[in-house]
Amino acid sequence: MTRPVGLSDRPIWRRLQPIVTIVLAAAVIGVPLWLVVVTAGKSQGEALNPNLSLPSHWHLLDNLHQVWTDADVPAAFFGSLLIVVPTVAGVLTFGSMAAWVLARRATRLNAILYALGISGIILPPAVVTVVLLLRQLGLAGTAIGMIGVYMGIYISTVIFFVTGFVRTIPTALEEAAQIDGATPFTVFRRVVLPLLRPVLATATILICLYVWNDVFYAFFVIGGRLDTLPLNLFRVASAGLYLNNWHLIFAYVILMSLPLVVLFAVAQRKIISGITGGAVK
């Protein structure tokens, strides 16, 4: 036994714990997910009043196909990709460049810059006036404007995580490269960036999660002019044509959640250790 004083080591509790875990997971997570799957598998008539019973005939593939073509999912999917990929690449590059210098040069100015740099983790972005600003810049309703807004919001997260991480890695490797005459940019790209891999993996997941699922900022910046998956889902769910078409809404939910669930399943262990390491250390 590795943990002699854990609460979970009472003899009775050790026998009860697996039962409690299974019942809790089934009731709290299983029931809502079950509702999604069975409703997405029903015909329109059966799904009118969504309940937990099994469909009399499975229409899951038909429903997925109908959503895919009628709601124009491919366009929304590429809209989402068009925004998520540059946003993540941008915040990781710019954020870790800034974080490296902020972590290595402990001056008073840098302490202030760091505080400003991470303020976006907590402070809410000004969603209304950002629209006005984008209009003045000629970026209103464009993918570039949306990417800029997301970068402005989430670069703070990268600066926070990476600065903390850089402080824990010794400077010896950087110094060796500097003595060999490497420029700061070379040191950063060839020595520092590879060392940052674990923390950048965590940041990637978190930011993908936020941006892929965001609908609030997208409403203001690109609503109506460019489609993303959440915007499209909102349209599908609110449109009169689809009103109470729960089978289509839940088929959409399945389609939209799959990419993240697959990504998570592939890199599950790394993601968990990354998120927890960044937050508590």
Partner: protein
């Protein structure tokens, strides 16, 4: 931002006391090896897309900017006075604070209980942890629709309660002007409890084995060890979880929009729902005013939080 090279002055030529010398030299080297221009791209993005709009908030909240006319004129505190006089301002503030507090409590209690329940590393617990992380991955909008379907008066939950109770049950979970805000906060907490669980689990694992060993030798019971030693050592995890849950849900939107849309009778209309609604109506100045109120509310509560986060970083 200077990238000029300042070579360190050799020791024997320096009139300064030796204690000052190494620091100066280090600074000069740092200027060369970690140039400040590395900060420019990140801070340019922050300036244009984050700080500038925030600054605009402080300007346009005091104008009559709207979607119905081209001119924008300053109107002083008229927007605040109007929102305060018809009760909207304080109601939205109260609802937002109640919502955020409830979410912070529920999310942390659930996350903590799950972390303690699933603490031991075995295959069942690892599987269960992944199960509880699924809602974190899902879109909050999707989560909202799922619970809207589940909590309808004729929905799955009432059917289950009806079967258990033996008579039909048709409570409108999302149609109660008093309790719906609690239900929506529970849904928000349901979505994010997996993340809190992960962070509490990590906190539990950072507690050194020898401290627990010492407590056991001293004859502490399991409960006493838990409350007297393990839970105080979880402080960093609590700080992080409470801060992100509290401040994050003040900026919430999706879950409320997808479950109630602010209803019934606007009893769940948190600030961002109000901003979204008035923006859609073309009342840009009112939306900006509420956006400024939200900013000030979070900023006021964030100062102690940022301070604590930074203190914690210095310790570790």
């Amino acid at each position: 931002m200077s990238t000029a090279i300042h070579p360190p002055v050799p020791d024997r030529l320096s009139p300064r006391p030796p204690s000052v010398q190494p620091r100066r030299a280090r600074k000069a080297i740092a200027r060369r090896t970690h140039p400040m221009w590395f900060l420019i791209p990140a801070f340019a993005v922050l300036l244009v897309f984050f700080f500038l709009p925030t600054l605009f908030n402080f300007i346009y909240a005091f104008t009559d900017w709207s979607g119905f006319k081209a001119a924008i004129n300053p109107v002083g505190f008229d927007n605040f006075a109007e929102l305060a006089s018809n009760g909207t301002l304080f109601r939205a503030l109260r609802i937002t604070i109640v919502y955020a507090t409830l979410v912070a409590i529920f999310q942390n209690v659930f996350g903590f209980v799950l972390a303690v329940l699933l603490e031991r590393d075995n295959w069942l617990n690892r599987l269960a942890r992944i199960f509880f992380l699924i809602p974190v991955l899902m879109s909050a909008l999707a989560v909202g629709y799922i619970f809207q379907a589940l909590l309808k008066p004729t929905g799955g939950l009432n059917a289950m309660i009806g079967t258990l109770a033996g008579h039909p049950f048709d409570y409108a979970w999302l149609g109660d002007t008093t309790w719906t805000i609690v239900v929506v906060a529970l849904i928000h907490a349901w979505k994010w409890m997996g993340l809190s669980m992960l962070i509490y689990l990590a906190g539990l694992k950072t507690i050194p084995e020898d401290v627990l060993e010492a407590a056991r030798i001293d004859g502490a019971s399991r409960w006493r060890t838990f409350w007297a030693i393990r839970s105080p050592l979880l402080a960093p995890a609590v700080t992080f979880n409470v801060a992100t849950a509290l401040l994050g849900s003040m900026n919430g939107f999706d879950v409320v929009q997808a479950t109630t849309g602010g209803g019934p009778a606007r009893t769940t209309e948190i600030l961002n729902i109000f901003i979204y609604r008035t923006f859609g109506q073309g009342l840009f100045a009112q939306a900006t005013t509420m956006s400024l109120v939200l900013f000030l509310l979070v900023a006021l509560m964030a100062f102690p939080v940022i301070y604590t986060l930074r203190k914690r970083e210095e310790i570790l």
